[in-house]
Every structure is written in C-alpha cells, then in structure tokens.
Symmetry: C2
C-alpha cells in the first residue's frame, strides 16, 4: 500500500466508473451552435482609427476567423478602416478587400456597413462618428472613455430614440467594454451581474500608469521623478502625463462606472480629484509602518447601505495590506465592488494596452453579432439620491515641521478645532531637526474638516507647509 | 496659498467649468430604456426548489420589482414554486398569486410558464426538470453544477436541437452562472469576454469550505480536524463533507470551466483529484518558510501556449505570496485566467451562500428576459487537442523519517532514479529524531515521476510513510 499512502490521485479505473456519458469521444470538431445557422451570417464592420487598438482588433479578428465562422456562425468582414494619415505604415495586415481611407465620415455613411468600431479617441470628430452612426442605425463599439464620460446622458437618450419600437435583431447596440479598464470585463459585469444587487461602494485602481509608478516607488524606494521616467520609458506614460498623474483619466472611468453602479449621472468636474504628484518616498515608509501601501484609487460610495447620499473622489489612498487591492501592482488595474448580495467582489487584470483593449472591443463585436448585449446604461438612480462634492473617511495626514516644543499640543489643538478625533501620531526617527516629518492618523472626518485642520497647522511657525493628506481605504 | 499647498481637491468653480452637459439636472426619475417598451412585458417563471437559493431568488425579485418594471421593462411573475415538503415553513414571503406545489413536473408542464429556475439540486429528478423544460421550449436557469458537469454534451446537443431554425425572442436560453463559484460572474466572462482570446491556463480557488479550512489552518495554526469542526459550525461544510474536502465539488466546477475556457469535454473522473485531508500544520510551516501558503486549486492548462496537449487536476498546491490567489482567504473563491491577449485576469468573490448564488440566478433571469444571454457553450476544441490524465509541475514533497545517516543520499538516489531534478531540501529543527519531517522542492516533473520517487522513498527503512506531495503554482 505504498502508493496509496503516498496520496495517489484518483484514476478512472480506481473509481470503478461505469459512466456512459462519453466526453471527448462524443465531441465533434464542429459542435452545433445554439442557432444552428445553415450558413454563417455576414456582418460588415468599419473601423475608425487604425492605430494601436484598431490594429489589435484587426489582428484578433483575423486570428479568430475560423472560430467565429464555425462556432459563432458569423462571417465578420472588415470592409473599411479610416486612418489619420494614409501614408503611415500600418502595423497590421490589411484584410483582403478592406479599404483604407482618410475620410472618416465615409465609413459612417457607408450603407453596406452594419457596425462601427470607434477607436480614434477624442471628443470632437469621434463624437460625430459615434452619434451619427447610431442615428444611421448602426451599432457602435467604442473604447472612448472621454467621450462617454462627457456625453453619457445624450448617448443614453439617443439610444432610446433610435431603438424606439425596435426589438430583436433591429436593436442598435452600443458596446463600450474597452472604455474602462481595458481588458477587465467590468462594464459587462456592472451591466448584467449586479442588476439584481445593491452596490454600496466601488473602489478601483483604474489607472495603469500611476499604479506602475506607485508600485515602483513602494518596491524600489524610487522617487516620484524616477518612477515617472521609468513609466515613460516603458510606454505607460503619455508625453504629457497630466491626465494620468493628475487623476483625470481615473476620474473619467469612475464617472462612467458610477452611472452603471449607482445609476447616477455626475459631471466629471463635480468629483473631487487629486493625483499622485505629492506622494513621496516618505509616505511609503509610513504606510509600511502602519501595515499597507499607497494606491491611487477612484472611490464612489453611499454614505451607508440604503442611504440617499453618496460621494466620490479620486485620490492617493492608504490601503491596508489585508485588502486585495494592496497586492495589485505594476500597470495592473482592479475594481472592488461592495454590494448587498455579493459582499465584496474584485476584478483584477490589465487596464490598457493593444490586445487587452482590442479584446474588449472584440467581445463587444461578438456580442452585437449574437444580439446578446445588455442594456448599456440599465440603472437609473432615484431622484432622492444626492451626490455631494465632498467625502468622509479616516485620513492619513503627513506634516512637515521644524522641531521644537509644544508641537503636539499645537497639532492637538488644530485637529480639535476642526472637530477631528486623532487616532494616532507616528514619528520615524528625526534625521534633521530643521526639516522633519510626522504623520497623524485620524478617525473618520469630512475632507473639509481635514482641509481646515491643515490651514490651521500651516499657520504655525513650526510648520514648513506641503502638508499632505490622503483617505484610508 | 496655504490651502493649495495643502493639496486641495479641485472644486468645479476652480476648474472654471463651462460645461453645458448637465448631469444630474438632466436625469429623470425614470430614464428611457433601450427598447422603450410602452408597457412592461410579463414574464412568468416557475421555481423548482424552495430552499436556501430558491428563497433568495424570491426575495431579490421582490426587492427589485420596481427597478425591473421601470428600468428593464419587465413584469416578472413567480407563478409556481415546487418544494419537497409542503408542510415545511418557508423562510421567504410567497409572492401574491404564486402556487406552492409538491408536484415538480406540474411546474415544468405548465403552459403559462415561460422560464424554469431549477434550484433543487441532484442529477436525477433535476435532470428531468431541466431537459423536459428545454424540450418544451422553456428557457432554464440552474445552479446545478453536478448536473451540468455530468450531462454537458447532452445539454449542448439538446439546446442546438430545440433552437434549430429559431432566432431572436424564440431562442430557448440556458443560464447557469450560479452553478460555478456562486456570486463570481465567471461563466458570463468565459462565455463572452474571452471568446476572442486564447486561454492557456485557468487556476481557481473554487471551493469555499476548503479555502476557509486552509485559511484557518494557515492563520491560526489549527489542525485539519479543528478547521473542519469550525467550518461545520459556521455552515460551510455539509454533514458529509466528502464532496468538499475530497476536492470533488471543485472538480465538477473545473470540468465545466474547462469546456468554456478550452472547448474540451472531459469526464469528471478523468481529472486527477486529491482533496485536503492530508494537509497538516507542518505544511503551513514549510510553506511560510518558502514564502507562500497552501490552497486547494483546480488547474487546467495547455502544455504550452498553442499546444495541442492539455492537463488538469484538483490538488492542494503551494501558492507563492506574490500570487493574488495567496491573499484570497476564508470562504472566498477566486479564478485566475492566463490568456494571450489579457495576460493574467483574476475574479475574486463569494463562491456560495443564499444571496451570492441567488444573485447569479437573478442576473440570468434578467438576461433571458432581455434576450441578452450568450451562447451557453461557445467554444469547441479542435479534435487535435488531447487531454492527458496526468500533469507536469514543480512539486513540494514532504517526507516523514527516522533520523540516521545516508538519508540525503538515499533521497537523491530516489529522485534521480525517477528522473527528477531537486531544487532544494528544507529542514526545520528536528524535535524528535524518531519521527521528523523534511521537504524536497523539485524542478518541473510529471506527477507519475513524483509518485515513482515516493514509492522508492517509502521502501527505505528510514522512511515512515505518509509522504505528501503537492504541485507548486
């Protein structure tokens, strides 16, 4: 009995299986699809944008042609691709019969095209492409978060208008999985899997560039500048990284997810937003001391389950090690949802890049072919739900000071005057008495109270300014 | 400038916003839905099974009635619920007009019912319910993993048969999100979001009871017996916990996900399966020493990307701390997918329980109402893809021994004879020379080689048997 005492894996004959349900033996090379189409149905698509994502879509559709024909029952033909510069060398093989054009609207107006894939970006010409395509009865797939964030109510109204009285295969679909967190299927999950649930909080690492930078600062003790240079060298940061490091890219994504999770429309600029430019190596030292790290999070939450008040913000946050989000590093994204039925659910994956983004576009293209897309913006918040331009949280406050007597008393007074209860004060050994740091951890308070405390602190002669605060997840 | 030096959040007036896109101000209490239905469409459902999950579905549908009517445009009526014992007190409010019956097939045969929700469990009567409902043209939602795992090819063939020539609203849908990992929408993701991608590996913590037990053993140094008692007391373990601790529940889920991820049908009993009964506190000591922990994983993988050979198994595994799966504790489930376009994607959430499972059923019910379900089993593996009843991995091998001379030489000989390269040998301080443990970490080898090495080891007079091995993630 040596083998069995060694914990042998069960083999079929040991189970004495008499199963008559043959698995692989019954499997044919082509199993029947649900709809048993006799011949694959042709779907003609036009792509607006022949860059990184557009090229990725062309490549994936070429790679999957046989699967799409045999298993899904569709013959997807890319008939036109609009590009900005006809003379630029393409980094993908142009499909047979596909026309490359510089005339964007010729793609939209082509009566032979059933579906438009907008991957050009921007909110001007791209808006015309998306809106005119929908008006022309063409389904649209887009990766354009800025456009959706800016024009969400108009998009929803237009979709209702063009679909009035329509059903089944006549419905004009709108797929935008690629617009938020690249390859993470968070849009589909919010459109479908949380419809019967009540979401109370959504917290996400929703910008890859800044997560790469913060992970690099946390792991390697790099400065902000070194981390940004590294992110630029690896292609994670744009030439002008403001949208990333300023938190604005994350805010657009948060605004779209807030509509899907809570049904609420909030203008982007109503959401408090702070980027990572003030985060320093010191903050990682203190975060480690408290048992956690620093992440740029977009958070939207009800004041309490069932509450009719909610808030949202983008900010660097202290994230305790016990949170799944603390272990999400590099350019990876993650969205964590707290809800009544499901408790906590987390989706982790690549938030950007050619193939993750293209993959999300392709899954929307397939969904539209199948007619299996969900209502794009299914939730509508009750009018009673109020969004407030502020938020409550426990806070981490880092204070720069010149050493002297009475500082703790002075700090105590400033926080007490602001109505904030201090949870703890942390102080690493002082290296330079004339320029040192300490950290105050507070109990939950409104951000306006923290701002007031900072104003009072900075008025003290021992305080050297550059006070930095961040919410605690 | 005290306030701005304090890192003030941007307020709308500071941005000088001139946006004319009103968000909340444009929002009406009831925004138009995509299809602009004039009156909500009535959908009559029958539920088979009035227990934990069935009751949860009734509760959620009652809670969401207004949302479903106003935002989705459906009036979902539960008209019949079949229960095993008519006299048992229900733990939910029976909807007005809903008939409670003990006659299961009367629900299936009721011509007024459009959709059947099967949450009774089992593979005999439940099989009749599901198959007969589909044959009668009724869409089906089920949480029954055992049934799907056992009859997947038959279900797929039946769906193709009943949907032959059908399209649009006539399609008979089959939703089984609830059958695998309760509240994690992994079925929908595999049915839709990975269709354009090529999955190379799927690794999951897919049984809540065992993950609770292993987390408890890891954190609290509990024995297997203590952990099982705790799991039972909290309701995570069944009266007979064999299906959980033996790995068989995880294997059913893995078999279903293998069809969705790789297109392959494999009989459950062809998948090597070992549970957690042999895992001891010692394994957690060594796992910590190496920098990781022990998790029960279900893994299915191609031998290499693009390979036409694949393997799968359920086994306790050593999981390094750097893996997201290492931080998934308690009764939480997680599925990690490695794919060509997306790299690594992880879905974390509650794998069981009344409301997580009911929520997944409800999302399928809504999807069927909307007609937005995906093809249930879209992928079909090429005939060239071969499944082999074995697998390759680096291994952790724990050996129980009586101290003496020549043991390391003997161990080296046994592994060399089996063709396995040893990576390292770990030894905590020996407390009892007559009954001690050491651990061998190997380079990648086939499990059959490890078994052979164990046979040779256990034939040595210094070896006390009970050799335990597990793959390294």
């Amino acid at each position: 009995m040596l083998l069995s005492s060694c914990g042998a894996f069960l083999a079929p004959n040991q189970l004495g299986s008499s199963s008559i349900i043959a698995g692989p033996r019954l499997r044919a090379a082509i199993e029947p699809v649900r709809m048993m189409a006799t011949a694959p149905k042709t779907v003609k698509i036009g792509i607006v944008g022949g860059g990184t994502v557009g090229g990725g879509i062309v490549e994936i559709l070429a790679r999957k042609k046989e699967f799409v024909t045999n298993s899904l029952g569709f013959d997807i033909q890319i008939v036109k691709i609009a590009v900005g510069n006809l003379n630029k060398k393409r980094d993908f093989a142009v499909p047979t019969g596909c026309v490359i054009t510089a005339d964007v609207m010729s793609v939209v107006k082509d009566p032979n095209i059933d579906m438009i894939v907008e991957v050009m970006g921007g909110t001007t010409l791209a808006k015309d492409v998306v809106f005119n395509s929908l008006k022309a009865g063409k389904s649209v797939v887009t990766a354009n978060k800025a456009l959706i964030s800016a024009y969400l109510p108009e998009l929803k109204a237009l979709l209702a208008e063009v679909n009035a009285g329509k059903s089944g295969k006549d419905i004009v679909h709108f797929g935008f999985e690629a617009a938020v967190c690249g390859g993470i299927p968070i849009i589909h999950a919010l459109q479908r899997d949380f419809l019967g649930d009540d979401i109370t909080q959504l917290s996400g690492i929703i910008n890859g560039c800044t997560n790469f930078m913060l992970s690099s600062m946390a792991a390697g003790g790099k400065s902000y500048k070194e981390a940004l240079d590294e992110a630029s060298a690896l292609g994670y940061a744009e030439a002008d990284p403001t949208l990333d490091v300023g938190g604005f890219d994350a805010r657009s994504k948060l605004r779209i997810m807030m509509k899907l999770a809570f049904g609420i429309n909030v203008n982007e600029d109503e959401i408090p937003c702070r980027g990572i430019t003030e985060v320093t190596a010191t903050d990682f030292e203190y975060a480690k001391l408290i048992g956690g790290t620093v992440k740029l999070l977009g958070i939207a939450k009800l004041d309490a389950p069932g509450s009719d008040r909610m808030s949202a913000f983008v900010s660097p946050c202290f994230v305790p090690s016990s949170s799944t989000l603390a272990s999400v590093n590099d350019a990876i994204n993650a969205v964590q949802i707290t809800s009544t039925s499901l408790g906590s659910s987390t989706f982790v994956g690549r938030g950007a890049g050619r193939f993750p983004t293209a993959n999300s576009c392709v899954s929307d293209i397939f969904g539209i072919c199948e007619g299996s897309t969900s209502e794009p913006f299914p939730k509508t918040a009750p009018l009673s739900l109020k969004f407030r331009n502020s938020f409550t949280s426990a806070f981490y406050v880092r204070i720069r000071f010149r050493d002297g007597t009475g500082i703790i008393r002075s700090v105590g007074t400033a926080f007490a005057n602001a109505g904030i209860s201090i949870q703890s004060i942390l102080q690493n050994p002082i290296k330079d008495k004339n320029d040192a740091m300490f950290v105050v951890m507070t109990d939950p308070a409104d951000v306006s109270q923290v701002k007031a405390a900072c104003v009072e602190l900075e008025a003290q002669d021992w305080c050297l300014g550059n006070t930095f605060y961040m919410p605690v997840l």
